[in-house]
Amino acid sequence: MSAKDSVVLSDMKPGSRGKVVRISAKGPLRRRILDMGLVSGVEINVKGVAPLGDPMEILVRGYSLSLRKQEAAEIHVEVM
């Protein structure tokens, strides 16, 4: 798996799109992320950030999910 053109989700700007390539979180956080439908291969859309810059809101599998940047930093995305 090439990691060269992948970025972490927390670095993506509102309005950008991408495909999840890898989740580096471990344990319960990883399980939580997976259960919300964020598995590798899924397409995501960054919708925006909260007034104070954190958390962020993304569109995945047709619904809006908010997550903290700290968690988003564990999700590696290939920008499209």
Binding site: P28, R31, R32, D35, M36, G37, R61, G62, Y63
Partner: protein, 258 residues
């Protein structure tokens, strides 16, 4: 060794969930992702007034109600909304344990018609635990408003279980749902869930484990599902098994001695 307390008919563990156990009373569980309208549907079915609200997590206490349809009495249990049944949280464990151990006569999985993909995740998981599943595609009015069309017939075929479209807050589709529930409960309609196939690696492991699980648990739980939980190292399931069956066993011995 096998478990000696093979249940016949009504699972005895059901009593542990404070569900009244009588012969002429069937238990229906409402499962589903948060905010899909379970409580709204519960209210529509039972005439009760559970609180509802447009945010995930409104219901945290499991509530019960009942209704009578075609001369049969039904107890409905409104389970907390969960995204999965893999026991990452207390709610998920509660919902899972209810389906596993109270063994509802039918589990209605309420899904959001506007967000089917994510909701199917849970449907597929429930199907692995029990065959008696109905999928209730709720919020169909919202889907129409967003110009989404859900092919209910096809959905039912692909999943192998009965499906119905509803709008819980207007009562649309409720008669069909009631009809399906009673058919599944009576056994007139036998859902044949089409289960997820896993990687060959996993499938191999599952087939090696299944017979051994059957030896321990008999037909109490679906052995394929238990195998998957063992493979991913889910300790909460073992704890729950202990909790529900050891008490059961104690009770059984007491009855024998008395």
């Amino acid at each position: 060794m096998g478990l000696t307390y093979q249940s016949v008919g009504i699972p005895a563990t059901r009593e542990m969930f404070n569900v009244k156990v009588t012969d002429n009373r069937s238990v229906i569980a409402l499962a589903g992702n948060p905010n899909t309208g379970k409580s709204t549907l519960f209210n529509a079915l039972t005439g009760l007034r559970q609180h509802t609200g447009n945010w995930p997590g409104k219901t945290v206490l499991q509530s019960k109600g009942s209704f009578i349809y075609k001369g049969r009495e039904y107890t409905v249990v409104d389970l907390p909304g969960t995204y999965s049944l893999l026991a990452n949280s207390v709610e998920e464990q509660v919902a899972r344990d209810f389906i596993c151990f109270a063994k509802p006569d039918t589990t209605v999985v309420v899904v959001d018609a506007t967000c089917l993909e994510r909701n199917l995740n849970l449907v597929l998981q429930v199907m692995e635990i029990t065959e008696k599943v109905i999928v209730c595609v709720n919020l169909i009015d919202e889907a129409r408003r967003k110009k989404l069309n859900v092919d209910i017939q096809k959905l039912s075929e692909l999943l192998g279980i009965p499906a119905v479209a509803t709008a819980a807050c207007t009562g649309e589709g409720l008669p069909q749902l009631l009809d399906l529930i009673s058919q599944v409960v009576c056994g007139d309609l036998k859902p044949k869930p089409k289960l997820v196939h896993y990687s060959s690696e996993l499938e191999n492991a599952i087939s090696k484990l299944e017979p051994k699980i059957k030896e321990v648990l008999g037909a109490e739980l679906n052995s394929r599902w238990v195998a998957l939980r063992l493979l991913e190292g889910d300790k909460t399931l073992i704890e729950s098994l202990e909790k529900f069956y050891s008490q059961e066993m104690i009770k059984a011995t007491r009855e024998v001695l008395a």
